[in-house]
């Protein structure tokens, strides 16, 4: 599988990763090599095989919808890169019209 620079740019945007021009070239080459290795999986006929999503066989694990103690606000915000009052400060995402 040959991955080109445009494909790398498409995936990087999906992954919210900014890449340098050099990284784009390197990843195009390396991802192509790795996908070539992964293509070996096509040797296996899997049309009749159930996919594995979990090895435990668990389906859903529920708990009671009850109020439990949670971390105090100050502890939650202690790692915030920027805060304002009791909230996380982020760039504006809605334009004023």
């Amino acid at each position: 599988m040959k991955i080109g620079r445009e494909e790398v740019e498409r995936v990087a945007l999906l992954a919210r990763l900014r890449l340098t021009e050099e990284e784009k070239d390197v990843f195009a080459k390396q991802l192509s090599q790795i996908l070539d290795h992964i293509a070996h999986l096509n040797r296996y006929e899997t049309a009749e095989v159930e996919p594995t999503t979990t090895v435990t066989g668990q389906v859903n694990v529920f708990r009671d919808d009850a109020v439990r103690p949670s971390l105090p606000v100050e502890q939650v915000l202690a790692n915030a890169p920027e805060r304002e009052g009791d909230g996380f400060r982020v760039p504006k995402i809605i334009d004023e019209r």
């Binding site: 990763l17 390396q30 899997t46 435990t56």
Partner: protein, 488 residues
């Protein structure tokens, strides 16, 4: 004998008997760390001072009321992707360089309840993605047997710290071999429990269908002792299993392996296997036969597909799990960004190293529209076939024995430019994670170049007792675990 050379079991006995105080233990380990750590660099954060303060409190209390717990006063190191309240947990990443968790992982809470002593947080490949610790944002750790060699990874710091006697035992995490491969490279014991055996609450998630926490120790008994404490169901981890926890040390009483069927998969003894490793593991299999084990050839025909399946599923899960590192609530935030998208993209560019970016890219690609069925769906199906291979084999045998790695530890820089070669170094450990099985790596020899060789014993789900029994019986007759690295 110097305190730092003792096993967990031996140190525990001395401490419980009152022959040594907690402060003396921390003092001895402090000296040892000061002496070897500049060469090994096993730790991201050292917590000797906090450990000493805690030790003094313990000693004062024990003078008045002598009541101990199995891990009380024991200096244990924790891999730096397992959350420790109030102590930085960096994942060896710039992204989390200044992150101080507001809570303990469940495994840490269990150790803390017994009043263990946290001696430090150990280095890893960034976010546990790698096989050498060379992908740590803070520089690689070194192999105590040869400082030019890697300690393995991703739990390389934990394995190196145990091997160099910088802690009495450590915790690691294993997604594709990250406990067993560094344990083999450093000549120590590493146990990956059954998926669901140990709670992962507070383990920074890499690939959620594969990750497990487990012990890295100086011998098999110590692994059982540590597993006794960390195993068990946890309401905070919905994938943890509600299966009773036995006393794993009870599995260590038998000295023979009579009536035990040992499977040897031929697929693990092919080209690419280092001759020293092959010789050592075959000698170990003969030893298991001498102990009464019945050796049987078995087939695991889809072994060669494991690496490909893993690098689809693990990267897909990682690309999703690592989406949370967006610069909003915790961790790094890039400066001078023009809008929200720019903040995401620049933060992730600055915060992640090359291997993490590569895996996020691969994982995003295989999940993206048009490729999902061809890659992700296909890999999930072949994963089923790999599990079926093990199920079939375990109808005929009770354990499976293989080399833990194809070669002894490689040199720093040897594989760091070629990601695929690095990935292939995990070929013997990965299929165990895909099948969710328990497996233990333990020393079984030394190569001509003076590096340790590890074997792997794989068991049925929740049969940790069986693999511990086999490993312990072997260890008792051969004593490879007593060989120490040349570092003094």
């Amino acid at each position: 004998m110097a305190l730092h050379k003792l096993s967990l079991y031996e140190l525990q006995r001395k401490f419980t008997a009152g022959e040594v105080s907690a402060a003396e233990i921390v003092h001895a380990y402090g000296l040892r760390i000061a002496h070897v750590e500049p060469k090994i660099r096993a730790f991201v954060t050292q917590t000797k001072d906090q450990a000493m303060a805690h030790a003094e409190v313990l000693d004062r209390r024990l003078k008045q009321w002598r009541k101990t717990e199995p891990l009380m006063g024991m200096p244990i190191a924790i891999k730096d992707n397992i959350c420790t309240e109030g102590v930085p947990t960096t994942c060896s990443s710039r992204m989390l360089q200044h992150f101080v968790p507001p809570y303990d992982a469940t495994v840490v809470a269990k150790l803390r309840k017994q009043e263990y002593l946290l001696i430090g947080k150990t280095n890893l490949d960034e976010f546990a993605m790698g096989s050498s610790t060379e992908h740590s944002a803070f520089g690689p750790s070194r192999n105590p047997w040869n400082l030019q060699c890697v300690p393995g990874g991703s739990s390389g710091g934990s394995a190196a710290a145990v091997a160099a006697d910088e802690c009495v035992a450590a915790l690691g995490s294993d997604t594709g071999g990250s406990i067993r491969q560094p344990a083999a490279f450093c000549g120590v014991v590493g146990l990956k429990p059954t998926y669901g055996r140990v709670s992962r609450y507070g383990l920074v998630a890499f690939a959620s269908s594969l990750d497990q926490i487990g012990p890295i120790t100086k011998d098999v008994r110590d692994a059982a002792l540590l597993l006794n404490v960390i195993a068990g169901h946890d309401p905070l981890d919905s994938t943890s299993a509600d299966v009773p926890v036995p006393d794993y040390t009870k599995a260590l009483t038998k000295k023979h392996l009579k009536k035990l069927r040992v499977g040897v998969p031929q697929e693990f003894f092919t080209e690419g296997l280092d001759p020293d490793v092959e010789g050592a593991v075959k000698a170990a299999i003969s030893e298991l036969k001498n102990l009464g084990g019945e050796i049987k050839d078995i087939e695991l025909p889809r072994t060669d597909a494991a690496v490909a399946v893993y690098y689809v599923l693990a990267t897909a899960e990682a690309s999703s799990n690592l989406a949370r590192f967006d610069g909003v609530k915790f961790g790094l935030r890039a400066k001078e960004t023009k809008d929200l998208l720019d903040l995401y993209m620049k933060t992730r560019q600055e915060g992640f190293g090359p291997e993490v970016k590569r895996r996020i890219m691969l994982g995003t690609y295989v999940l993206s529209a048009g490729y999902y069925d061809a890659y992700y769906g296909k890999a999930q199906a072949v994963r089923t076939m790999i599990r079926q291979d093990f199920e079939t084999a375990f109808k005929e045998v009770d354990v499976i024995v293989t080399p833990a790695t194809p070669t002894p530890a490689f040199k720093l820089g040897e594989k760091s430019e070629d990601p695929l070669q690095m990935y292939l170094s995990d070929i013997f450990t990965i299929s165990v994670n895909l099948a969710g099985l328990p497996a233990i790596a333990l020393p079984c020899g030394v190569s001509k170049s003076g590096l340790p060789i590890g074997m792997q014993v794989i068991g049925r789900p929740f049969e940790e007792e069986t693999i511990l029994r086999v490993a312990h019986a072997y260890e008792q007759t051969t004593q490879w675990h007593l060989k120490k690295p040349p570092i003094r």
